[in-house]
């Protein structure tokens, strides 16, 4: 399996505090990966670096088969290159319908003029309906997304990421605040998505990570502490000391 994203030797400090400390991380073309770690371990900063929100002080972030550097690219350009990001809090456009949200995310030219003249084709609408079915919102297309439940908003945001047809999906705590039934569905959506693309899930909830049944990376103080199967990392003494033991 070839590498899709390679982060090597990345360091970033905020006012002297090293949020990320010589971090190295790799993920393959079609892989599901969970990233866990205590608060302040650098999980969100890691996502900020990959998506172009934060610029690292040193190190490399290489992406794709041509190993293009992502450092210095704008957030929009990185997103267009195929990296999608889901925020911790569900962020959908609440005063717009589910359909409008998905249409906005659909992989289409992003320039102002192209968007101004865009009219959804039957194929686009069919794709939106198909996505809505996948995330369990097939009968909610005309509803303003502000009226959806917390869990449904989370799914809609995941659906918007899928509509972008990304090669790499970064998902921040997707199961937070969900009921057990909703968690199960979220797991299924993510596992399905990871069959054709790389998915990185940042999560606190160990039970949720277990259900994802994938390789786990443990972050601590901005660096990788351990990596492997969940059983492997939970037996690691360092991991027990800094995270699980508490």
């Amino acid at each position: 399996m070839s590498t899709l994203l390679e982060v090597s030797g990345v360091t970033v400090s905020f006012d002297g505090f090293r949020a990320i400390n010589n971090l190295s991380f790799q993920i393959g073309e079609a892989e599901l990966r969970a990233v866990i770690g205590p608060n302040g371990a650098g999980k969100t900063t890691f996502m900020d670096i990959v998506t172009g929100k934060t610029r690292p002080d040193s190190g490399h972030v290489l992406y794709g088969e041509r190993s293009a550097s992502l450092i210095g690219m704008s957030e929009a350009k990185i997103a267009q290159a195929g990296i999608g990001r889901k925020f911790q809090k569900p962020t959908v456009f609440e005063d717009q319908t589910v359909q409008a949200n998905l249409l906005m995310a659909l992989r289409k030219p992003r320039g102002p003029l192209a968007v101004l003249l865009y009219r959804p084709s039957p194929a686009d609408l069919a794709r939106v309906a198909e996505l809505a079915d996948e995330i369990g919102l097939g009968d909610q297309l005309e509803r303003p997304s502000g009226e959806l439940s917390h869990g449904q908003k989370q799914w809609l945001e995941i659906g918007m990421l899928l509509a972008q047809d990304p090669r790499l999906l970064l998902v921040d705590e997707p199961a937070a605040g969900m009921t057990p039934a909703e968690r199960e569905k979220t797991t299924a959506i993510l596992v399905e998505a990871a069959r054709t693309r790389a998915v990185v899930v940042v999560e606190h909830d160990m039970e949720f990570v277990r259900r994802l049944n994938c390789k786990v990376t443990v972050l601590h103080e901005g660096a990788v502490l351990a990596e492997g199967s969940l059983d492997h990392v939970t037996r690691n003494q360092d991991v027990i000391d800094v995270y699980l033991g508490r």
Partner: protein, 391 residues
């Protein structure tokens, strides 16, 4: 999906129909072409109000839809007025000068005419030379193009610098205030080439037109109504599709739009520049009806009023901007025009000319606190309630 734009947005048709009806009614009641119930000066007031409604629609696009609280759009409005004012003043002065020199023994040379125009226009600021920026003042076509190009270019440069640096929120508002203040202070100087604090005057007189003001006022009234109709149609079309989705997305969550792969800065720049051009057109129609433009018109407070009108009308609804502006600006001219009877409260005489601003300020606070969706939001609630009781 293939239904026409109007069919999908019946409220646009309703607005255009009401505007047409209003235009017809004013024409029939006017002195110029009707029964003479409405005075010429009131026709001008109504025409000016339509221009203010147009700039308010632009303000609603940039603030209500894209979420950028620009407090500098009156600068673009004023620039549009100056650009058309230059042609009006130059050409009218040329007609007067040529008339005066016609009786001379020798026919005047073009240089003599130009010198005489320069003397007439700039004598008031102690100069007699036409500045370089008046090079095209004799060409209506070029000055009309400048009505759009000058505000558009200023907005493009200003917006590019501000948005690229990711200046947002209240910082951007302050920056736009600084822009309009800077421009006003510059224009106040005699050396600005636009007659300093005298501004441009006599703009109500169209060069070479002998028709009375009662008729000219209606021409401008019709042009203002047409411009408002077209501006409203364009704005409604702009916000109806995916472009509208994206700019409302930028208003509600800029970061999300960015991570969806949209260059937020390009969208902001596009909408900022477009609304500046609309403001320029509105200004070019307004000032010939006002008769005079001077730098005080683009003082920072003018752009703040614009935001107040849109807020009272209800932002994020194009007709809300129109209602708010028409309502507040007409009320304002009633109160400040000395027509409102003064009140005597506990021995204190409330003179509305002074107290109107206090009333306006209080209404703005009240709207912000108790009716954040403004008059339009209130109307929608009423309509919704009636529908509920009817069913």
């Amino acid at each position: 999906m293939h239904r026409s734009f109007i069919a999908r947005h019946p409220s646009v048709l309703v607005f255009l129909a009401l505007l047409a009806l209003f235009t017809l009614a004013v024409t029939v009641l006017s002195e110029g072409f009707g029964v003479g119930v409405i005075s010429t000066s009131f026709v001008k007031t109504l025409g000016k109000t339509l221009c203010l409604c147009l700039v308010a629609v632009a303000m609603d696009l940039i603030w209500g839809y894209a979420g950028i609280l620009s407090l500098g759009h009156f600068a673009f409005f004023g620039l549009g007025g100056y650009m058309i004012g230059m042609w009006l003043m130059f050409e009218r002065t040329r007609h007067i000068v040529e008339g005066a020199l016609a009786d001379a023994a020798l026919p005047p040379t073009p240089e003599e005419i130009e010198a005489a125009i320069g003397n007439q226009v700039f004598g008031v600021v102690g100069s007699s030379d036409l500045p370089l920026i008046w090079s095209f003042a004799d060409s209506l076509a070029i000055q009309l193009a400048l009505v759009v190009l000058v505000p558009g270019l200023l907005a493009l440069v200003f917006g590019w610098l501000a948005f690229r640096a990711r200046v947002t929120g209240v910082y951007l508002s302050i920056l736009t205030q600084a822009m309009t203040l800077g421009l006003a202070l510059y224009l106040f100087q005699n050396a600005s080439g636009l007659r300093g604090n005298n501004g441009l005057s006599g703009l109500q007189n169209l060069p070479g037109v002998t028709a009375p003001q009662s008729e000219v006022s209606l021409w401008f009234f019709w042009a203002s109504a047409l411009a408002l109709a077209l501006g409203y149609l364009l704005s409604a079309w702009l916000v109806s599709g995916k472009f509208g989705s994206v700019i409302r997305g930028i208003r509600d969550n800029e970061a999300r739009v960015r991570f969806l792969g949209y260059s937020v800065e390009h969208y902001k720049l596009a909408i900022f520049t477009l609304t500046a051009c609309i403001a320029g057109i509105a200004g070019a129609l307004y000032y010939p009806q006002a008769g005079i433009i001077n730098p005080a018109e683009i003082a920072p407070i003018a752009s703040i009023y614009l935001a107040v009108w849109v807020a009272i009308g209800g932002r994020g609804r194009l007709y809300g901007a129109v209602i708010g502006t028409a309502f507040v600006s007409l009320l304002s001219s009633w109160f400040t025009g000395g027509q409102a009877p003064d009140l005597t409260v506990a021995g204190y005489r409330v003179a509305w000319v002074d107290w109107w601003l206090v009333l306006l300020g209080l209404s703005f606070v009240a709207v912000t606190l108790y009716a954040p969706r403004g008059i339009a939001g209130g109307l929608e609630r009423l309509a919704g309630r009636r529908k509920d009781t009817a069913s």
